[in-house]
């Protein structure tokens, strides 16, 4: 799997992401600067990592979403290429119009930095192939604005088309108010675009990939992407 990790000023999770990608895929990802206008030839996966691009000025992800490199990401996505946005990356993809909706201030206004449980809603997406449907995984979150909101019609479409891939849940997999850490609509932690090749999620799977991290539940996401690419090849 050839991957490219975008780098914006203020991003701080790009190295975690690059380390996880190298560890799992065996290939060193390309680090692509926000002012670049092309992605490396043969890129399978573009990752928009987490952090605080442009210090969250204006709105989280708003300025990064208008960076020159985002046109190349848009082209890559339009051709069916895989795009993964994590945390600030999810916010950037929403601001760029690659995903619907918006990430609002956490319902209880607090920055949340802890491990959370996610229920994997389906296993037939490139982004969930490494898991079983209904499986509960544990991954960290670290965000102040992860409360996913969209209008009723959009939410209905997301649900109807099975585009919610990850939901916040309790450790036993129950999707309830207690498990919904940030007040997101329908407990949404991660969604895909219409074609299913662009995923945005608030939690950080790249931070649970090695034993030393105390948990390896995040590996399935990356392993699933590789299975998907192998099958497509």
């Amino acid at each position: 799997m050839k991957s490219a990790v975008l780098v914006f000023p203020g991003i701080n999770r790009e190295r975690d992401m690059a380390r996880a990608l190298k560890l799992i895929s065996g290939h060193e990802p390309a680090m692509v600067w926000h002012a670049d206008t092309v992605l490396p030839a043969g890129t399978d996966l573009v990752v928009v990592p987490g952090g605080f691009s442009y210090g969250d000025y204006l709105r989280c992800g708003a300025i990064a979403a208008r960076a020159p490199v985002m046109d190349a990401v848009r082209d890559h996505a339009a051709k069916g290429g895989l795009v993964l946005g994590v945390c600030n990356g999810f916010q950037i993809l929403c601001e760029a119009g690659l995903l619907p909706g918006v990430l609002m201030r956490n319902a209880r206004l607090k920055f949340i930095c802890k491990d959370v449980h996610l229920r994997v809603e389906r296993s037939d997406s490139p982004f969930t192939r490494g898991y079983n449907a209904g499986q509960v995984i544990r991954v960290p979150v670290a965000h102040g604005e992860g409360n996913y909101e969209a209008d009723e019609e959009t939410l209905k479409r997301l649900e109807g088309e099975g585009r919610v891939l990850y939901r916040y849940c309790s450790p036993d997999g129950a999707v309830d108010e207690a498990g919904n850490i940030n007040g997101a609509a329908h407990s949404i932690a991660g969604i895909v675009n219409e074609n299913g090749n662009v995923l945005g999620m608030m939690p950080h799977p790249e931070n649970h990939v090695e034993d030393i991290m105390g948990c390896t539940d995040g590996r399935g996401l990356f392993a699933g992407l590789m299975m998907h690419l192998d099958q497509a090849a």
Partner: protein, 80 residues
Amino acid sequence: MKARVTVTLKSGILDPQGKAIEGALKSLGVDGIASVRQGKVFDIELAGADRAKAEAALKDAADKLLANTVIENYAIDMKP
């Protein structure tokens, strides 16, 4: 030429920051406040003198960047 662009949350969009400010005002004992919604103000200086062009540029700026029209409305106010 100068202009002010005001960006506000659409009605129905939950505004936790506005709610927190509202709560703080109440705890300060500021009377008579029913509710607060927080927005943003951009004071913009325009390079040319053509008013129509300036308005078009401001609309472009608001649509492309200043507002997220999924959740926000904006108003453009040209200064005399």
